[in-house]
């Protein structure tokens, strides 16, 4: 019975054992945990079924040995595993390891193993023999591949989360958007890094409390912010506001903040979450845009300029454009027909043509035309159109239209004024100009200025060519005058010089230049006037004066010549008659029967004719004598100056320099003023003529000799008188000049002698001549 009982108990025990073993197996399988035993003495390894499964083997398929186990460990993990186990064992610790195994199918699994020692003495976790040496190692092995994967996946998710957090942060930083959460229950605020930055704070600075936030909000906006928060808490709507904040460094920024309230299931708010965006820059550019739009429209208004665009998407007109055309913006941009109706009838056809060409050829235009506004007002507008071409494709037109009525009217006025001015200039022969003589730039040249220099106003003439027209003899003087004025920055007035026109005409002009003291060097505004007529009139007057003088003085050349011719004719008549009579006389006496009676008559005829010739000569002499008796006190120096003045034209024309060396306090002479003048004039004209081509010096001296006579000398530096001719020059009819009468010096000598003086000449041939004459002064006259 006991045996049976034992048997029974054994059977029960065995059953129990089986059952628990099976449960263990089941538990191990579910948990993927296997166990093993390694008998260190027999080196036998026993695996549980699950261990086999973990290793990818069929349970109890074969006994395990160490080498097989070792071969199944992942080669990379083999060494570290065994070394780690040994170390742990030596250190008396329970080896614990994670490593990979390679299943026969090649699949890699990650396992975790826990090893313990077994001693016989104690039923504990290690099996050691009596000597204290473990005789068995026991361990569990768990397949943690799935766990491991999950862990890795988690790690991946966490990493990605962190990454996207970082990205969000970055995005927020770039967008100047930060987020915050306000724990309403604990009244704690958490800021993202960007919010710190927006507030000008360091994100590392630590948490921020509400008081600090309130402090940083712009004082003027503080109430607004909290009221908005309050309202959000009361309502369902988010708080959406713009406010300013003051950074610690004093900078003011504008923030756009949106906050939503989170509530728990009972509807109690527990958190406000929101974003804060720094919109200062956007705000600023919005403001700038508004400003520039304002400036644009204001500019258009001020400039009376409108703009328009015409493309596929429509026809745009700016407000100012409507205003210019007097149209109501409400009605929209006009059609081309409507537009053309606004154009002044006289300009309409050309405008229509322009629009047509613009549409056909896609070309722009720029023209001024007249429009008639609906209210009847006439305005001048300047319309500019430009084709828009993008990447070679025509897109439409843009353009501007400007009301230029005022400018146009001014322009017309200006043109009229200019026409009047030009007319006046042309009538007065005055040209105006503005030029920089230094840089040779010409800023203004009136038409008359061109004409005065013989140019066509239509031509472009450089300044040099104007200078080139100056008569070669005057060029140096003119240039010097301008240069001098330029250097001293003063005005100039060149009273007279000649310009030669391309056609050979020579005109006398006067140029006046006004220097603008504040202006640049060489800049002059001035006029050039044609003084030829005036000059001619002056010359005429001068000629008349000369003529009068000449008449008074018995004109030296012409009158003398005519006088001589008349004299010759008059004298030739009786002489010819005398000769004929004498011839006839001879004729009567010749032959076989001389006619004495007739011969006598012819002879007396000869006498009569000869006598008549003598009478004519006496008559002419008496003509001269008639003016002699005049005797008056004459101041010789004054006389010399007068004559020099009278001859100034001849002097200038022949480039002669006059030197008057007159002694002072000379006594007066008694004489015929007119005759003495003639003597001086004769001598001076001779002198000037002697220097005609070469120019030279004309020196006139007056002085008193010891014996009380006045000596007047007239010297030239001309060709002089040859020594062998010096005595003949005073002979009547002696002349060296083509037009000379040969009477000047003879008459002069006769006049001087009639005044009780002498006239003589000295000369070095080739080096000029000096004529001297003496006059007794008044006190000596009687003697």
């Amino acid at each position: 019975m006991a045996n049976e009982d034992v048997q029974k108990t054994l059977a029960e025990l065995s059953r129990d054992l089986h059952e628990s073993k099976a449960r263990l197996e089941e538990a191990q399988r579910v948990a993927s945990v296997g166990h093993w035993e390694w008998d260190l003495e027999t080196d036998v390894v026993v695996w549980s079924d699950e261990t086999y499964r973990i290793f990818g083997l069929s349970p109890r398929g074969r006994p395990m040995d160490l080498a097989t186990v070792r071969s199944m460990v992942h080669p990379e993990d083999r060494e570290p595993l065994y070394q780690g186990v040994d170390q742990d064992l030596v250190a008396g610790e329970r080896p614990k390891a994670e490593f990979r195994i390679v299943r026969p199918s090649g699949e890699v699994r990650t396992v975790s193993s826990l090893t313990s020692e077994r001693w016989n003495s104690s039923p504990g976790d290690a099996k050691r023999d009596a000597s204290g040496r473990p005789y068995k190692l026991f361990g569990t092995i768990q397949d943690i591949t799935e766990r491991k994967r999950t862990e890795e996946a988690l790690q991946e998710i966490s990493r990605k989360l962190q990454e996207s957090n970082a990205r969000l942060e970055e995005a927020q930083r770039i967008a100047n958007v930060g987020h915050y959460s306000w724990n309403l229950i604990e009244n704690r605020v958490i800021w993202s890094d960007e919010v710190y930055r927006i507030y000008g704070l360091d994100p590392q600075q630590g948490p921020i409390d509400l008081a600090k936030v309130s402090e940083m909000i712009h004082p003027e906006d503080r109430e607004l912010v909290f009221r908005a928060a309050e309202e959000a808490l009361q309502s369902e709507l988010p708080a959406d506001i713009e406010h300013r904040l003051v950074r610690p460094d004093g900078e003011v920024r504008t923030i756009h903040s949106v906050g939503t309230v989170k509530r728990d299931t009972s509807g109690r708010p527990y958190e406000m979450f929101g974003t804060a965006q720094d919109i200062t820059d956007r705000k600023r550019s919005e403001k700038a845009l508004k400003q520039s739009q304002f400036y644009l429209s204001e500019g258009q208004r001020l400039a009376h300029m409108g703009s328009w665009a015409f493309n596929d998407s429509g026809h745009y007109w700016s407000d100012e454009l409507y205003k210019i055309y007097g149209l109501d913006p409400q009605n929209g941009a006009p059609t081309i027909e409507q537009y053309l109706a606004l154009i002044h009838p006289q300009d309409r056809a050309s405008m229509a043509e322009t629009i047509k060409r613009m549409q056909e050829e896609h070309c722009g235009f720029d023209q001024i035309e007249r429009i008639v506004r609906p209210d009847g007002q006439l305005r001048y507008i300047r319309a500019v159109a430009v084709p828009v071409i993008e990447q070679g494709v025509f897109k439409g037109f843009i353009g501007t239209t400007m009301d230029v009525t005022e400018q146009e009217l001014l322009m017309q006025e200006l043109r009229r004024e200019q026409a009047y001015l030009a007319e006046a200039q042309s009538l007065a022969h005055i040209g105006s100009w503005a030029t920089n003589f230094y840089t040779k730039q010409m800023f203004h040249l009136s038409d008359e200025t061109f004409r005065l220099h013989g140019f066509d106003p239509k031509d472009r003439i450089p300044l040099e060519r104007f200078f080139d027209t100056i008569h070669p003899e005057d060029a140096a003087t003119v240039t010097a005058a301008i240069n001098q004025a330029m250097n001293s920055r003063t005005d100039f007035d060149i009273r007279e010089y000649r310009v030669c026109h391309p056609d050979g005409t020579i005109r006398f002009v006067r140029a006046i230049g006004h220097h603008n003291r504040s202006g640049e060097m060489g800049y002059y505004v001035g006029i050039t006037m044609d003084i030829t007529e005036r000059k001619k009139a002056e010359q005429e007057r001068e000629k008349l004066r000369q003529l009068e003088a000449d008449l008074a003085h018995i004109n030296r050349v012409n009158t003398m010549g005519e006088l001589a011719a008349a004299l010759a004719h008059e004298i030739k008549q009786p002489i010819a008659a005398a000769v004929a009579n004498a011839g006839a006389c001879l004729g009567f006496l010749e032959g076989q029967r001389p006619d004495i009676l007739e011969a006598r008559e012819a002879a007396s005829g000869t006498i009569g004719s000869a006598r008549r010739a003598a009478e004519i000569i006496d008559h002419v002499r008496s003509l001269f004598k008639k003016s002699f008796p005049q005797r008056e006190p004459v101041e010789v120096n004054e006389l010399i100056r007068e004559v020099a003045l009278l001859l100034h034209n001849d002097i200038r024309r022949n480039s002669v320099a006059v030197h008057l060396e007159l002694a002072e306090n000379l006594p007066e002479v008694a004489g015929d003023r007119v005759q003495l003048e003639q003597v001086l004039m004769n001598l001076m004209l001779n002198a000037i003529e002697a220097m005609r081509d070469a120019g030279g010096d004309l020196t006139i001296t007056s002085q008193q000799t010891d014996d009380g006579h006045l000596v007047i000398s007239v010297s030239d530096t001309g060709f002089g008188v040859p020594a062998n001719k010096i005595d003949q020059i005073f002979d009547t009819f002696f002349t060296t000049k083509p037009q000379g009468t040969g009477m000047g010096l003879a008459i002069s000598r006769s006049i001087v002698e009639s005044h009780g003086g002498r006239l003589w000449a000295t000369s070095d041939s080739g080096r000029g001549a000096t004529f001297r004459f003496t006059l007794p002064h008044e006190g000596l006259m009687g003697t």
């Binding site: 004929a580 011839g583 006839a584």
Partner: protein
């Protein structure tokens, strides 16, 4: 046949002394002179049918000597002119000579110069007068020809023989010879050549 009267010299000068002295010079060779103080006085005088010439001062009151010359040419008065002047210039001389002046004397001139010039002028005038008279006589003779005779004269002058003339006139040769004889007789031509020269001179005068 012309009985030429004695030659006459017309003198136009405003200077009386001059006129008288020149008259005396002419008198030494027995030439008759008629004196005028102004050109107008002279132009009113009818030129007699006698050899004559004109001594003309260039410078005259009222009308210059060259103008007088021009007027005379215009009036068809053919009288040789001797100009005298106190001072003549070359252009004036050329002009005067071109218009047919015989001589241009400058005062004072030697009396023989004047006489030579006058002799030359009178000779020239005599010649032209004779010429003019001859033409007049030829014209007279020509007027005496009948129409037929004039025709015959033309044919003779053109060098035709009597036979040819007869053929043209449609007459007998004898009739033509008679006409021809009349022509030669009336025109006082000694030969057909002389008749030819007469016809030539007549033609020239007719053209004049």
């Amino acid at each position: 046949m012309s009985t030429l009267s004695s030659p006459i010299v017309f003198i136009v000068d405003d200077d009386e002394d001059m006129r008288l002295s020149m008259q005396r010079v002419l008198k030494t060779v027995g030439l008759r002179a008629e004196l005028f103080a102004t050109p107008l006085d002279f132009l009113q005088r009818n030129i007699p049918d006698a050899p004559s010439c004109l001594v003309l001062d260039v410078r005259l009151p009222g009308m210059g000597g060259l103008e007088v010359q021009h007027k005379l040419i215009e009036a068809g008065i053919n009288i040789p002119i001797i100009f005298i002047t106190a001072h003549g210039d070359i252009p004036m001389t050329v002009k005067a000579m071109k218009s047919g002046a015989v001589e241009f004397l400058t005062k004072p001139f030697r009396h023989q110069e004047l006489l030579d010039a006058i002799q030359q002028a009178l000779q020239r005038d005599q010649l032209s007068r004779r010429h003019r008279n001859e033409i007049a006589e030829l014209q007279e003779r020509y007027k005496g020809l009948t129409a037929r005779e004039r025709k015959v004269m033309d044919l003779v002058v053109s060098g035709m023989q009597t036979k040819q003339i007869a053929a043209i006139l449609g007459t007998s040769e004898i009739t033509a010879a008679v006409h021809r004889g009349h022509v030669m007789h009336k025109m006082r031509a000694g030969s057909p050549a002389e008749l030819g020269s007469m016809a030539e001179r007549l033609k020239l005068s007719a053209n004049r």
